[in-house]
């Protein structure tokens, strides 16, 4: 049952073939049996999930009209506030904090009766590409437990790939949904900025952050997308417009006559041969399905990484200032005679991990007087240039595509001491965040050299998210008929040792 898609589970719940309690229990059992190997979760809410499942079953028994995903379980990235449940953002500084409110995403999940299994592991405050920066230990890639599951949302993607949950929520600031999806053989979407409310999403970089759906199929992702998207008056940067028709697009999977633009700069040198091979193969399949493949150029993308590592740390240095030991969270050094300032300094030293501190200092520097124009100001200009590149490219193509990441999953610890090498992981995903457009990653197969999943990225213009679902569904269907079974069937089952 747990290997079904979310859509299949929903159908079985609707037909009465199973109950939400049974389905939820099956996932809790799976979590129990594989979690010691994967470590996808920071908190498993067994009691809360079963209660929520029972209430959905009761509603269904009464004949109430329920939403399409009602009763299906989900794993929630620990960066979203859920009332009275631990929300740590993978940081020591928030250990034990229980939010007194629900994020809008969580409120939407509850309204749609989607069962929340618990909170998933992540790089501290979403800063990282490997989940190694979690203060609570790394998550392991279900394809190869010695490898990273991507980051920052490695917990969510690993939960999907290890069948601990059929649905998950991620957040994407520079690739934190798409890169984990790519390296775990799952699907992840960063919607258009403003498409999903950020209220209750603990901010890393406010102008880049976006919550989005993760699942094992394009349709499941679309169903979750529609459940969480829409205008929210509590988020001043939320778009007040109808939600793109992503479910319909995912069902149709029609690319006939669509122009698909291959971004010249997001390929070639630095991309692993197996990644390039799977990418080229996917293009052929899309062409066969009726799409026209064109090449587009985005010359300023090469500056995206540099701009990102100025903008995101700058905003983060300010966003993370509130973690000061005064109102909530960790407090260190509050001894007789200590000053508030000393307690803040000590708490932030102990409460933040190395990467978070590195970025706070970098951001503080980039915003400081005398350096603002050279760093933050210049990065904002690069942002303009990247947006212009996208605008031009979208006049030549309906969607743009690239490999999601230059490489497949690397080994845990391999890049831990080389921040720049780590940052390079996000080279293909970052431009999307800079321009606020939509981006999807879906599995394109396994790299020949290491047998690990490769991600295929589709980018669509602002509020045209349905386009990436059309292309994603078409490619998924073509690949599935080629493979004969879902890619994840080839992943280790993880149960042998128990």
């Amino acid at each position: 049952m747990i290997r079904n898609t979310a859509a299949q589970m929903a159908a079985k719940l609707a037909s009465g073939e199973t109950t939400s309690v049974a389905l939820t229990q099956a996932h809790l059992d799976r979590i129990n049996s594989v979690e010691d190997k994967v470590h996808a979760f920071l908190f498993v809410d067994e009691k809360g999930a079963l209660e929520q499942a029972a209430s959905v079953d009761a509603k269904r028994a009464k004949g109430e009209k329920l939403s399409p995903l009602a009763g299906v379980p989900l794993a929630l990235k620990d960066v979203l506030a859920q009332k009275d449940k631990p929300t740590t953002c993978g940081s020591k500084i928030l250990e034990g904090w229980l939010p007194p409110y629900d994020s809008t995403v969580v409120a939407s999940l509850k309204k749609n009766d989607i069962v929340i299994l618990g909170k998933t592991n992540m790089d501290e405050f979403a800063m990282g590409s490997s989940t190694e920066n979690s203060a609570y230990g790394p998550t392991h890639n279900p394809w190869d437990l010695s490898r990273i599951p991507g980051g920052s949302g490695g917990g969510s993607s690993a939960a999907l790939a290890s069948f601990e949950a059929p649905l998950a929520i991620g957040t994407d600031t520079g690739g934190s949904i798409r890169q984990p999806a790519a390296v775990t053989g799952t699907v992840g979407v960063k919607p258009t900025y403003g498409g999903v409310s950020r209220y209750g999403l603990v901010a890393f970089s406010s102008s880049l952050d976006q919550a989005g759906p993760c699942a094992r199929t394009v349709l499941d992702t679309a169903l979750l997308h529609e459940a969480i998207a829409g205008y929210d008056p509590k988020d001043a940067t939320s778009i007040n417009a109808p939600v793109p028709q992503v479910v319909q697009a995912a069902k149709d999977g029609n690319v006939k006559g669509m122009k698909i633009g291959v971004v010249k700069e997001l390929n070639g040198d630095g991309y692993q041969p197996g990644v390039r091979a799977r990418f080229d193969e996917a293009l052929e399949l899309l062409a066969k399905a009726g799409a026209e493949i064109v090449e587009v150029s985005a010359p300023n993308f090469e500056y995206a990484l540099a701009a990102y590592y100025l903008i995101a740390p700058s905003e983060a240095s300010s966003n993370l200032a509130r973690f000061d030991a005064m109102r909530y969270g960790l407090r260190v050094g509050d001894v007789d005679g200590a000053s508030a300032e000393a307690v803040m300094n000590l708490t932030r030293e102990v409460g933040f991990g190395k990467e978070v501190k590195r970025r706070i200092i970098l951001g503080t520097y980039a915003l400081s007087s005398g350096y603002y124009d050279a760093y933050y100001g210049s990065a904002q200009k690069v942002r303009t240039l990247i947006t212009q590149d996208f605008t031009k490219a979208f006049t030549q193509a309906d969607v743009l595509v690239s490999p999601t990441c230059p490489t497949t999953a690397f080994k845990i610890g391999e890049k831990a001491n080389d921040p720049l090498a780590m940052y390079l992981n996000d080279i293909a995903t970052i431009p999307v965040n800079m321009a606020g457009i939509g981006g999807m990653s879906l599995p394109a197969g396994l790299a020949d050299e290491d047998g690990l999943p490769v991600g295929f990225q589709i980018m669509s213009p602002v509020m045209k998210d349905e386009r990436m679902y059309s292309v994603g569904a078409a490619l998924e269907a073509a690949l599935l008929s080629k493979w004969g079974a879902p890619l994840l069937n080839r992943a280790p089952t993880l149960e042998a040792s128990k």
Binding site: L98, I239, Y303, L305, S317, D334, A340, N345, Y365, K381
Partner: protein, 98 residues
């Protein structure tokens, strides 16, 4: 060639309210030499005629009407407080100005 001295890192850590050991200051200072060189590339194309973009959306005038909505209860507001007294957040002595 951009770089940050140990003292500059210490000053930034002070601004950011993060206590740092000598070892940390020195190692960050070294790392920043590399990182700043990488990020300084933005200056290559950031010419004067390019307008800055601080936000991906071109939304304007997003407001809420002036209506009171229920607040948290004081118990909820203080629920995460490391220390509290008289329905207020208790914090260590505050140095500096009034």
């Amino acid at each position: 060639m951009s770089s940050l001295s140990r003292d500059e890192v210490a000053k930034l850590a002070g601004l950011a309210r993060i206590e740092m050991s000598e070892e940390e200051l020195v190692s960050l200072s070294k790392e920043f030499t590399v990182i700043l060189d990488a990020v300084a590339r933005v200056q290559e194309v950031a010419s004067a005629d390019v307008a800055p973009t601080s936000h991906p959306l071109s939304l304007r005038n997003v407001f809420r009407t002036d209506v009171v909505v229920p607040s948290l209860s004081p118990e909820q507001a203080l629920s995460g407080a490391p220390a509290q007294e008289e329905q207020r957040f208790r914090v260590p002595q505050i140095l500096g100005e009034e």
